[in-house]
Symmetry: C2
Subunit: 539 residues, 2 copies
Amino acid sequence: MSKALSIFDTTLRDGTQGEGISLSADDKLKIAKKLDQLGVHYIEGGIPGSNSKDIEFFKRVQDFGLSAKITAFGSTRRKDSIAEHDANLKRVIESGVQVATLVGKSWDFHVYTALQTTLDENLAMIYDSIAYLKRQGLEVIFDAEHFFDGYKNNPEYALAVMHKAEEAGADVLTMCDTNGGTMPHEVHDIVSVLAGRVTTSRLGIHTHNDCELAVANSLSAVRAGAEQIQGTMNGYGERCGNANLCSIIPNLQLKLGYEVLEPERLMQLTNTARYVSEIANVYMPINQPYVGTSAFAHKGGIHVSAILRDSRTYEHITPETVGNRQRVLVSELAGQSNILSKAQELGIPFDPENEDTREVISKIKDLEHQGYQFEGADASLELLLREANGDLKELFVFESFKMLVEKSAGKPVISEAFVKLNIDGTSIYTAAEGNGPVNALDNALRKALITYYPGLQEIHLSDYKVRVLDDKDATASKVRVLIESRNYENSWSTVGVSGNVIEASWEALVDSLRYALIGQTKREDYTEIPSAARGLVNH
Amino acid sequence: MSKALSIFDTTLRDGTQGEGISLSADDKLKIAKKLDQLGVHYIEGGIPGSNSKDIEFFKRVQDFGLSAKITAFGSTRRKDSIAEHDANLKRVIESGVQVATLVGKSWDFHVYTALQTTLDENLAMIYDSIAYLKRQGLEVIFDAEHFFDGYKNNPEYALAVMHKAEEAGADVLTMCDTNGGTMPHEVHDIVSVLAGRVTTSRLGIHTHNDCELAVANSLSAVRAGAEQIQGTMNGYGERCGNANLCSIIPNLQLKLGYEVLEPERLMQLTNTARYVSEIANVYMPINQPYVGTSAFAHKGGIHVSAILRDSRTYEHITPETVGNRQRVLVSELAGQSNILSKAQELGIPFDPENEDTREVISKIKDLEHQGYQFEGADASLELLLREANGDLKELFVFESFKMLVEKSAGKPVISEAFVKLNIDGTSIYTAAEGNGPVNALDNALRKALITYYPGLQEIHLSDYKVRVLDDKDATASKVRVLIESRNYENSWSTVGVSGNVIEASWEALVDSLRYALIGQTKREDYTEIPSAARGLVNH
């Protein structure tokens, strides 16, 4: 198919309407840069008329030299007034963008209820505002809010709105399913009608996910003639979110045959999705299509054996096309064959017929039964496998730890930890303060180990998660702690489980450091200056 | 539309293939009971041939007297063997179900690669297995694995498979998009072809969400003639999950006009979805369509004012139809109007022109800036609003707390907390142990308060979440703790933020108890026996 499609990303505007999503101007600039590298064609940065953060974004983004077109969002002029005097339109122009995205009403019910004006005045508001921005030399995208609901209620009026916008010179007429309630076949029918009527403007689509159909509705619209697709990274947005570009882009490109992005850029999709989720500080569902960590994860024993024979048996695309990867999960459902293929992946030789092998498998199953979860803690699993294989030595013999948190009215809280270990017959007792109990424990533990293992200096903990396993009685039940650690090149995850969050954290901390030190030998000569070039082996 | 559709729930079988999902026989029985109350027509309980847990489920579920039909999953007989001697088919029969769901191959590539047999032998495997189960008096649903991929690769063979299954007496021929890679228009075309060929069997659809199209594909299939829809609660399942029944059911019923469930049962949808998510111990995305906590949450200031005028302006259905509810979020994006409408919802009188009102709004914004999030902690927000309004008295004056965790090799970990408070001039110093540090703090705090407020006995903490706010350096950065508490009738959530997880937990704990005691007066007479009938006021 030769028709060119353009991707319009509104993560920074409509995406921030999602519950729990809040982006600073800095966050927005970082995301814009990343989206530009991915190759989206339009980036909607915000509403310059609404707050100073967005004004700052539009000012600073000009120095970035992005390839994507930056667009600012505004509304049609106020009723019974003049576009040239409209403060909101003025701020769109002052933002310095080349493209304005202007929202207007196309549902008669909303004209009466929300705007509280006449149908004719709404048409005039649309015409005047677009024509004014066009006279200022801007490219104008007209967002027809509630277009599908409007069409279903009063088709003549919804079409009249689009004709008016086209007449005023709008470059793109975007049909918005604002409430997310339209079905894909309705989208197809309605877009087809409009596609048969417009002559100069192109058509755009903007959908919401309230029926879990935003992606399908976007594809429906493209098949009926829409050429510009609005959406957000990871589907962020109000209520159930906007259309998820992370699914729409590969569907258009890998399934419907459009070249939306250059193939090398498509390989940045997973990475971009995860980056945006980190900046937005929003949990990414593991089962998110295409880019989630489970998207190509196989658990069923039969599936796993077929996958190892030919990945097309249970994968609809090659994960690398979108920058993701295949994973084989270790779990009770999968059993021995998955654990063995994990060992194989790690290059640990395991004989399935061996007694030791059966022992480690039964140990892993037993730990899972206690609440450990190795699907999200690859490093702890690797330690268990290496331990069973005998190629892992203990770093130290644990003697005790104590952890104290103290808070008095009007004074800052204090956290202290005391750790007692024995390394090769030498008893080591350290004490450290920290910003919190886990940090204090981490500090005391490192203090004990770092003279022997200077490589630990390069490591820091990058994420810390606590999950209550049985929420019948939350503060008296088991918790699972997952810790993610990083050095300059890699990250790894470890797990700890206990009725006590501090003990569970300790377990995961110890595993993290043990993993970091795989393949490293203890430094015996304390007088030697640690070499900065000394890397960590194996990860 | 008069055609009867049936809902086939496979949460307990295919749903458990999802990463991180593991259900005990007890869990499965609880979920089956709940699904039956919702009114699904078929419940697939598991694979009796695979493990003892599933065998236990099928045995125990017979005593429940459920209205839904229980079905067991199995595969067609092994190649080059006899159905009557097949161990897997035997276990399906022995499980005692009235309905068998049998999976077979319909993609020639899989016959060669995975089964490693001939196309003819595969047809024989299908025919023999179905015919055998039919002779045993079972209703048989035939799951044609990879039917759409098979049809695209070799349409004659895929159709031959279905004809063979129909000839053998299958009651339902289910077309599976096993890899989840098929587009909705393809589903429509292919289902239409098959619908034109079958005469006695009904058609079923089973889709996966790898392209974020499982719901759309299910609807497409229904529009083309499918009458039975397979899916899972919350879309649990391997990789990106199965088709989400929580979206499909309301789409069929509220959008496409089928009566799938009785309307009163549809109102149990949200509750059922959340219950299953709790039992499965899997995080439910807040923006999940129809049943998520954000599904009808409004954040944008303009949207909120329109919603308050007429909810149809930004809601595609009435939330109560599916048992959900509208929420107005308090956030920086929304500002004053949302906070005021929240206060209105709570019946707290606030004058927007008043200086005190502006002060509380600026305090809330400041706390949000520090990392507090009131979108998920309604109770803490209510406390702030009531405090500002002057109708909240302090329970105690805080003096200090200490928290100690101690672990020695080979001994159990010990947690102790010491709390010093002043209530009306009386200094109270309590000490308590606990199953973990937060539990110890909770115990010590209650010990100090319970003689004054016996109502606290009825309250327990039901969930505890920790979120690292800045993951640059996880154990030395701010954390947000959310605590959910319950009494017999209600639940409420509170928040605490600190660099120290213990301090943050303390804050959230104190808020939880303060909220529980709104409207309660202090018990002055210690000799009185607390009345069991004494309820908690206001929640």
